[in-house]
């Protein structure tokens, strides 16, 4: 078993996140799907860093991905609350304020 197994697992998890983001309409679950995708990219970065362990570049990148994911979750949930105040629902099919 080599690093390829980690890469396959990361791409499968990314696929779950992408499918959840595209197919679900609940805004909360779409935000969680974004977190799934960011997490799978972290697995990829760490696996490639383990291939070449003479430096820490991949782990430094994963560290920054975690920090940006925290900022993204805070802002996304703030936007979700503002959206809920206007529409009284989390259904993204009703998000038509900028459409017409």
């Amino acid at each position: 078993m080599g690093i390829g197994t980690y890469l396959v697992l990361a791409s499968v998890l990314f696929g779950f996140g992408a499918a959840g983001f595209l197919a679900r309409r609940n805004m909360l679950i779409q935000l969680m799907s974004i977190e799934l995708m960011l997490n799978s990219v972290n697995v990829l970065l760490l696996a490639f860093n383990r291939v070449n362990p003479s430096n820490h570049d991949g782990q430094v990148f994963a560290f920054f991905v975690i920090a940006v994911a925290a900022a993204e979750a805070a802002l996304g949930l703030a936007i979700l609350i503002a959206y809920y105040r206007i529409k009284k629902t989390l259904d993204t099919d009703d998000a038509t304020l900028l459409k017409y």
Partner: protein
């Protein structure tokens, strides 16, 4: 890779996939958040097999401790209306999106599955607090400061967006 590493990898990979499936298929958002929690904790265990000890701890602290708790707070704030009725219609676009995702994942997985470089010996301090901390402060000091300003702006922006009166 040694035997215990393979065992830990198989267990954590199974739980990560189960958690991801719960997250994207659960009807209730609280169950989806619990699936996300399972996924995150098992990925933190998997980081241990890749010699990323500090990042495993950070994954638990930041994702499980902050982000999932934030999701749960928002679900509690919204109450029953956090749930959205199941989709009616739009079957073609949903099927198409899932099918295209599966095709892309199969293409990527089949092209990377046999990438098997030999496992190199890990140098002392790889992925520990000292090793990764020194790497961050030597190579990425400016991005580290920029990320602190980014988090500060995100906090201010979240307050400004969530407080705005819109009715």
């Amino acid at each position: 890779m040694t035997g215990p590493g393979i065992t830990l990898f198989v267990v954590t990979a199974t739980f990560a996939i189960i958690g991801a499936l719960i997250t994207i298929s659960a009807r209730r958002p609280l169950r989806a958040a619990m699936g996300l929690l399972v996924n995150i904790v098992s990925l933190a265990g998997m980081f241990l097999t890749l010699n990323a000890h500090l990042l495993a701890a950070l994954q638990i602290l930041v994702y499980a401790g902050a982000i999932v708790v934030l999701f749960v707070f928002v679900i509690m704030l919204l109450g029953p209306s956090a749930e959205v009725a199941p989709a009616e219609g739009r079957l073609a676009s949903r099927t198409l999106s899932i099918a295209s995702t599966i095709i892309v994942v199969l293409a990527v997985s089949s092209s990377v599955a046999y990438f098997n470089p030999p496992w190199e010996a890990v140098p002392d301090g790889f992925g520990t607090v000292e090793g990764l901390g020194m790497a961050i402060y030597r190579q990425a000091l400016v991005p580290f400061e920029v990320i602190s300003i980014t988090l500060l702006i995100a906090i201010i922006g979240a307050i400004a967006v969530a407080r705005s009166r819109t009715e």
